[in-house]
Amino acid sequence: MDTYYDPKDLTAFSDMGKQAPELAKAFFEYYNKVFAEGELSEREKALIALAVAHAVQCTYCIDAYTRACLEKGSNLDEMTEAVHVATAIRGGASLVHGLQMRNVASKLSM
């Protein structure tokens, strides 16, 4: 193995069911239901998934949901905005913890 990640692994995702098959079955049924059309469209759910994929930095998910977004009718402008949403939340999450830093510093300082 030259790298930890191989794009071909994505197509073998279901192999995770070779052990603990009942857990895998439950997971994949749940997964498919989550992404089915509901109050949110399949296109909107794919955009959310793309943003989350960037937040958790899952290369498999970025690969899969870039294609899914395009095939659900989203365009690069929308997908880029979705990534910025993830970026803003990640960045904002760091910055808002600055308040904790300020509280601790305030308590320790004269």
């Binding site: 059309e37 296109r43 294609r67 395009l70 095939e71 659900k72 009718g73 365009n75 690069l76 402008d77």
Partner: protein, 325 residues
């Protein structure tokens, strides 16, 4: 966007399971049924050079149906009643005999379709043709790949999106695209790359909302079609290293249920030079009906039901997902 192109254009050779073999593996056979549609390709001349064009049509192509062939096509249509006659190109607007074809073919069918890229129809020189289409209540089927300007212009050429919006507004002003008056305006969307199209129903809802809200445009139907790996699109697939993955993706989306509705079962396609094909994609691939060149002037009647249809690997496109009608 940065693109990393492969230099080897032979990547897929021998690696793809033949279409006929896949079909047989599902116990399926595609044979001709009653032929109800006559499709006429007026030529490969086009004012655009769309990246997804399976015919490699464009301003550089000289092929265009001449008067003798146009008259032979009209004669054939007059002797064989087709429910639908479908005029396509290239850009049919740029064929010098297009007005005659529209006027004469309209007499021989209840449903005449005219496929337009919109920019050729609304170029300032085809107002009479637009009026003729309206007067004859011809259905206009227009290319409109995306509601996103940059995505559309990458595929069809700089500035085409704005021209298309202008053309759709003009057609709406002529009465096209509303539910009431029967002047049908349909849109066709193709993906801007090596991926499959979205669900037609969901895309139609979104196109309808966006076109109405942003540009006050209405239309009747949206058709979402996958790109066929032929012509200019195939060259791009090879050049960009996407050919093999795209074909594999089409195969992975193979839907046996699509076999029932594929257009080649009920359509005959005549090329700009009068030769016959089972569909426009076989025309692009140079794969004639019955695998031998037959001129429309030699045809007495419609192709017989239960005759074979020429199949090739590009047929995977019509069997992917919900198919291609």
């Amino acid at each position: 966007m940065n693109k990393h192109f492969a230099t080897d254009d032979t990547v897929f050779s021998g690696q793809i399971k033949p279409f006929a073999q896949t079909l047989a593996g599902h116990g399926l056979e595609i044979r001709r049924e009653e032929t109800s549609t006559l499709q006429i390709n007026t030529g490969l001349v086009c004012n655009q050079s769309c990246a997804h064009c399976h015919l490699d049509a464009g301003p550089h192509r000289p092929e265009s149906m001449d008067l003798i062939t146009a008259e032979q096509v009209i004669d054939y249509a007059s002797r064989n009643r087709f429910e639908t006659i479908d005029i396509t190109g290239g850009a049919p607007e740029l064929n010098p005999h297009i007005s005659m074809l529209v006027s004469e073919l309209r007499k021989h069918t209840s449903r005449l379709l005219f496929r337009s890229n919109l920019s050729a129809l609304n170029n300032g020189q085809n107002d009479d043709l637009m009026g003729l289409l309206q007067k004859n209540r011809v259905v206009i089927v227009s290319s409109f790949p995306s509601i996103n300007q940059s995505q559309s212009d990458v595929q069809r050429g700089e500035g085409v999106f704005v021209k298309s919006i202008d053309a759709l507004q003009r057609l709406n002003s002529l009465g096209y695209g509303s539910a009431e008056n029967g002047l049908e305006l349909d849109l066709v969307s193709n993906p801007a790359g090596a991926f499959l199209p979205p669900s037609q129903e969901q895309a139609a809802k979104r196109f309808r909302q966006t076109l109405q809200r942003k540009w006050d445009i209405t239309f009747n139907n949206l058709y979402c079609f996958a790109n066929v790996p032929l012509g200019r699109f195939r060259k791009w697939l090879k050049y960009s290293g996407n050919l093999n993955p795209y074909l594999e993706h089409l195969i992975s989306a193979f839907n046996p249920c699509s076999a029932g509705g594929v257009m080649c079962k009920s359509l005959i396609s005549v090329s700009w030079d009068g030769y016959l094909y089972d569909c426009d994609f076989n025309l692009a691939a140079g794969l004639p009906m019955n695998r031998r060149k037959t001129h429309i002037s030699e045809m007495q009647g419609k192709p017989l039901p239960d005759t074979s249809i020429a199949l090739a690997d590009h047929c995977y496109t019509c069997m992917a997902g919900t198919g291609f009608t």
